[in-house]
């Protein structure tokens, strides 16, 4: 018997179908899923894929934003517009509340990304979420390369590499004990370039700061940071006005802009193709802390 002829399947279609399959498995097997939604591009893709997965029904999950208080105004406005447009329920866990009442202490370096873990875990417990969608991708970082699509977390949110279940075929095992939950990563097999190609193909709207704009910035640790409620340039750090864009959107105190004139989707796509730096290495101070920074934070219950 000769081999059947194989029609070529476009890889973006394959990645989309896989992500939709994962989301439907969660809808079918869990009681109280939630989508982590910051307004950033990866979480916006989750919302877009959820619309496609359940159409013509509305998205059957609420969204949860862990708000560091160090936000870009454009991103918060975008978040609220998306919530309104798709009739989503927005839950917000505020790091600021924890700092105000003393449950968390501001760090010496002023960054709040590592402080997100406690409010996240409290919100998961309070709303009794049993599945939490994250936009994490395996291409982002070495510890993430070993992450499962369904990632079991203890009651403390901890990722225990040795307890991760083997994932076979596309049969996902979401069983968990009371108090445990499962983090689910539908974008696991997307790369940064796939994300941008998919955004372009689907016409997914993003916050304006992903595209080149003129902004006052200052250099610190080899990154271009911007002033905000989290502070501004320290003594000796000079301010410049230049054309920049953001490759990731996180805590304003530690998310750097890249010098860029890519003002349209096509220009951003070209820039991502040409880039010689990963998006995290280029713009996230929190990932530069140590060789195992991400692994350590994941063990503590981070995204």
């Amino acid at each position: 018997m000769s081999a059947p002829t194989i029609s070529q399947v476009d890889q973006l279609d394959a990645l989309e179908s896989e992500a939709i399959h994962v989301m439907r498995e969660v809808a079918g097997e869990f009681d109280r899923p939630v989508i982590l939604f910051s307004g950033g591009k990866d979480s916006m893709l989750l919302v877009h894929l959820a619309r496609k997965a359940f159409w013509p029904a509305p998205i059957p999950f609420p969204v949860l934003h862990v708000d560091t208080g160090h936000n870009f105004d454009e991103v918060i406005a975008f978040r609220d517009a998306v919530v309104e447009r798709y009739g989503l329920t927005l839950e917000v866990a505020r790091v600021q509340d924890y700092i105000d009442d003393g449950r968390l202490e501001e760090r010496a370096d002023g960054t709040r990304n590592p402080l997100q873990t406690t409010p996240l875990l409290d919100a998961i417990a309070e709303h009794r979420h049993d599945a939490v969608f994250g936009g994490g991708r395996r291409d982002e970082e070495r510890a993430r390369a070993k992450e499962r699509v369904f990632s079991l977390r203890t009651a403390f949110g901890a990722w225990e590499p040795s307890r991760q279940r083997p994932e076979l075929w596309n049969l996902y095992n979401g069983r968990h004990k009371p108090g445990e939950h499962v983090r689910v990563f539908p974008l696991s097999n997307f790369t940064e370039l796939d994300v941008w190609r998919y955004i372009a193909r689907e016409g997914v709207e993003l916050p304006s700061i992903y595209y080149a704009h003129t902004r006052e910035v200052f250099a610190r640790d080899g990154m271009w940071l911007t002033s905000g409620p989290w502070g501004g340039p320290r003594h000796g750090e000079e301010t410049r006005t230049m054309s920049v864009r953001y490759r990731t959107v996180g805590d304003g105190s530690c998310t750097g802009a890249v010098e860029s004139t890519a003002a349209t989707l096509d220009e951003v796509l070209d820039e991502v193709r040409e880039s010689r730096l990963t998006e995290r290495g280029a713009t996230r101070a929190d990932d530069r802390l140590s060789e195992a920074a991400m692994e350590d934070r994941k063990r503590e219950g981070y995204f």
Binding site: R24, P161, P166, W169, L171, N173, G281
Partner: protein, 429 residues
């Protein structure tokens, strides 16, 4: 348009697998400057950067200098995008080889040219063969350490072709490539050191090999994941069945069976967010509308009529993945497609001795990394296919009802005893 090839790599600890994967990433320019700087910082004693550091992700792995968990790697060329499951070769982590192989269209097995085919190679070939990975590549690595000797390559390649032929692989599904991952010979660029080799480099082969979507030519199978019922003003009466086409093709108007009940109906429409389709193929996520309301729910299997006969007792080959051993009489959960049922292991009839690749009768139990043949009884009829015919509906998981852990990967049928694995046996050395 570029397509996607999913592949797995496997090899013994010292075959240089991490270096090979690092080399593929590095030479396809999939490694960015900051990752490379981190590798250069971490390379012990200066000199050429240690490319294996690109892929050894966890702290415990770096400390022990071994890979202990499947890592997924991504690289792309203008022709194709690749998802690579990098599976550890260390013997106690065979379960990861099974995991990587379960989604792979192609597997790359590494051997050290100095030692040739070793027991672990035989084990990996046996696992790949049982899981029906459609294509195999033998990477004969470290050719630089045998002076790029042609005879050494051919001796190893011929032994390998003997193994794959015994497992039923057609000749054109298997290639052997002499290379040096450390130096880069024949990984991405052709080697000047081996003019006698006229075949493709590893990357050329990966770019050009046909991608066999598993179950492409198989009969239609569609496990229902979720019932879409909007009950909105725009869609008050809509009812559709969401799922991923697991095998074959479905067209509007096709007659289908709803399993396990066996009722027949027709496909009235194939819906997606982007519009209606005339047909849907393996790997596509869609919503099917049916002509009749037959109580279809999550767990139902929509199938071409006349296959996947529901049964409550069947034989299966298991890859046992858990420290807790399996003994006859065990009560477990079985996940097949989107349906989870209770299962009892009626008998453990055979075990593959992974050391010698001989099949042992009546082994009494299966322990971690064993492959074995069992008889199962399930609480509700399951519409099963033989794994060798339709992998998607011939595969299942066994799950611990208390802890929730995944215990085993299951293949419906008797592939373990049907395959001539004894021909892979080592010489008792």
């Amino acid at each position: 348009m570029s397509d996607l090839l999913r592949l797995a790599t496997a090899g013994s600890v010292d075959d240089g697998k991490s270096t090979l994967v690092g080399r593929l990433l590095y030479d396809t320019k999939s490694v960015l400057a900051d990752q490379m700087e981190a590798v250069e910082r971490a390379t012990v004693g200066g000199g050429d950067p240690d490319l294996s550091l690109l892929v050894d992700g966890l702290r415990s792995e770096r400390e022990q200098g071994i890979t202990i968990d499947v890592a997924y790697r991504y690289f792309a060329t203008p022709q194709r995008s690749f998802v690579l499951a990098d599976t550890p070769g260390h013997v106690q982590y065979t379960r990861n080889t099974v995991t990587g192989a379960s989604t792979a269209s192609l597997a790359v097995l590494l051997v050290d040219a100095r030692s040739g085919i070793v027991e672990q190679t035989r084990r990996h070939v046996a696992v790949m063969g049982l899981l029906r990975v459609p294509r195999l590549v033998l990477a004969v690595n470290k050719m630089d350490l045998v002076d790029f000797d042609e005879n050494t390559y051919w001796r190893i390649a011929k032994e390998f072709f003997g193994l794959t032929e015994a497992l039923g692989y057609p000749e054109d599904a298997v290639v052997a490539i002499p290379l040096s991952a450390k130096k880069g010979d024949n990984v991405v660029l052709s080697s000047e050191n081996m003019p006698w080799y006229e075949g493709p480099t590893l990357l050329e082969h990966l770019e050009s090999v046909p991608v066999e979507g598993a179950d492409h030519g198989a009969p239609f199978r569609f496990p229902v994941q979720y019932v879409v019922r909007p009950r909105t003003d725009d869609h008050p009466d809509y009812r559709g069945y969401a799922g991923l086409v697991a095998a074959g093709t479905v067209r509007v108007g096709d007659e289908i069976a709803v399993l396990p009940d066996g009722h027949r109906t027709r496909v009235e429409g194939i819906d997606t967010f982007d519009g209606e389709l005339e047909s849907a193929h393996v790997g596509q996520s869609v919503v099917l509308r049916l002509a009749d309301d037959l109580g279809v729910a999550r767990g139902s299997l929509l199938a071409a009529p006349g296959g996947a006969e529901p049964v409550t007792e069947f034989d299966a080959t298991l890859a046992w993945l858990h420290e807790k051993p399996l003994r006859p009489g065990a009560r477990l959960l079985l996940k097949h497609g989107t349906r989870t049922v209770q299962a009892i292991v009626a008998a453990v009839t055979h075990r593959l001795d992974t050391e010698t690749l001989s099949v042992v009768d009546e082994p009494g139990e299966l322990t971690i990394n064993d492959m074995g043949q069992v008889s199962l009884t399930v609480s509700e009829p399951l519409p099963l296919d033989e794994y060798d015919e339709v992998a998607a509906t011939g595969s299942f998981l066994l799950v611990d009802p208390q802890a929730g852990d995944t215990l085993a990967a299951g293949l419906v049928g008797r592939p373990l005893v049907a395959r001539p694995l004894h021909s892979l046996e080592t010489d008792g050395s």
